[in-house]
Symmetry: C2
Subunit: 306 residues, 2 copies
């Protein structure tokens, strides 16, 4: 039994009002697998990098018990590179550079040893590649979670809709939910998106938390109010990785466990934004994680006896 | 013992994407006192109207056990009138007409029978008038809640700050908290605002719920995700009225009761936006209110054992 994470493993340079990084390691699969590793010790990644990717970074994955057999290293090629600048509100950003490099013709090969996968996290990537991964699993995983973004809605909507049909949980942000559904009300948007196929929809609202929709049920999770958001890069991937990692740990898929998984995912995401890149989420202790989850409990809980 | 509500009692005409009203009854004190009346039966209002204000509407207050002895009716004068148009997102609006009329020289006279007031709700109004009310109370009420808006920050900041110093709870929205503090982070904004004087700060975030700050504690309340928001007018006043009405009912001021008060206030506000004006919040049953509060419990509660 294992949790397979597919997505980008890449280089980023990031500018925020707090500073600017050199090329640092990023990518959806990086953040998601690191986050999941705090809850589950059978995390495996499928991704592609060039031979410019530092061996020590691959060793770092292994230190977190993340299996890298599925991480293809392409000799003579360069890793995916993204550069972005955040605005003062930290909610919007401009992409400065996107170099696809190895990602341009990424063929996601699933090692035989990964076929025991019960939990599949499809990190943000071409929907076609996400779909290929599902099709290459000999047995459909028990739970497939898919993250995506507006970019694919703009340029590959048909592929995206076909892939969404195949998954159990879709995670997108509020603007993307509105774009995908054509509905302004998130309740209407959610109900429309759930008719495409997924059983669960998570709408991420950044500093306003997240909403979970399933059938006629809805759960609202808060975000931790932070004095300083240093770098939002990877927060959504970290959230998704923590979410599926927690579910893999508890092993039972139901609405109550999903609610808790959102709180655990949110707790990890709240760490992610406190430093540039993966710096914070690479070095957390179990006590820090449970302390942060307790902060969410204190933040959201009230007792009303009707 | 009573709960005194001061604010506008007025006429509005409202345009939303769903339609347009004739002149209907509105005003901060109208919404707040109606909301409070669902929890507490000693609500008293101080406000001013012209003799164009319908007697049946005053009778309606009394039907809700709202004491109108402090509602001044000015012969030969006209009631305050506001007209606004909401944009498609329902979060922003344009003011089309503001006619101060009787409000221009409003002198808030406190009837002697109101001097037993333990709970004072200062609805949105000139900070100078709000302050006069506090000064005219023979004995400082046990709890003073103040609502205000960006308009007073723009034109009467010194008066506003002086009034804020005197209250226990301030309610403002997120943009206003940022404007008042000069801080983008709501955590930093809250801590700065609490140093002005209030012991509690509630930051209203509309469809994203509300945050309560007190010392180093914070509580995040969700908003109920609604398929349709029909008319947001008065939602903030309804929230504040429900909030203080619930506290007057329970009688003990502490952080836990404040959290519950926010949920009760939010529940009433969620009804308010479902119809134009006061239509919905004038005619609620106790069962509807407790059913809605239960929806908030279901929406926000999770169980994590660490």
């Amino acid at each position: 039994m294992s949790l397979l994470v597919i997505g980008t493993v890449a280089f980023d340079t990031i500018e925020t009002p707090f500073g600017k990084t050199d090329k640092i390691v990023g990518g959806a699969a990086t953040y998601a697998s690191l986050a999941a590793s705090y809850f589950y010790n059978q995390v495996k990644i499928v991704a592609v990098v060039g031979d410019d990717f530092p061996k020590e970074e691959i060793a770092d994955f292994e230190q977190h018990n993340i299996n890298t057999e599925g991480l293809q290293v392409k000799p003579g090629e360069k890793s995916f590179f993204w550069s972005g600048r955040y605005h003062n509100d930290m909610n919007s950003r401009d992409t400065l550079i996107t170099e696809l490099n190895v990602l341009a013709d990424f063929d996601p090969i699933i090692p035989e040893s990964y076929q025991d996968c019960e939990y599949l996290m499809l990190g943000n990537l071409t929907p076609q590649v996400q779909q290929t991964v599902i099709k290459r699993m000999h047995k459909r995983p028990k739970l497939i979670v898919m993250d995506t973004m507006n970019f694919w809605m703009d340029i590959a909507l048909d592929d995206l809709l076909e892939t969404i049909k195949l998954v159990d949980v879709l995670t997108i942000n509020d603007a993307e939910a509105r774009q995908l559904s054509g509905e302004y009300s998130l309740v209407k948007a959610a109900h429309k998106i759930l008719t495409i196929g997924p059983k669960y929809l998570i709408i991420k609202k950044g500093e306003h938390g997240a909403l979970l929709f399933h059938e006629d049920k809805v759960f609202s999770a808060p975000a931790l109010p932070l004095a300083e958001v240093f770098d939002p890069t990877g927060a959504g991937d970290t959230f998704a990785g923590g979410f599926i990692g927690y579910l893999a740990k508890v092993g039972t898929i139901n609405f109550n466990n999903m609610k808790n998984a959102i709180i655990f995912g949110s707790a990890l995401a709240s760490f992610c934004v406190e430093k540039f890149g993966t710096e914070k989420i690479k070095n957390l202790t179990a006590e820090e994680v449970s302390g942060r989850v307790q902060e969410f409990v204190n933040l959201a809980q009230f007792e009303i006896v009707l």
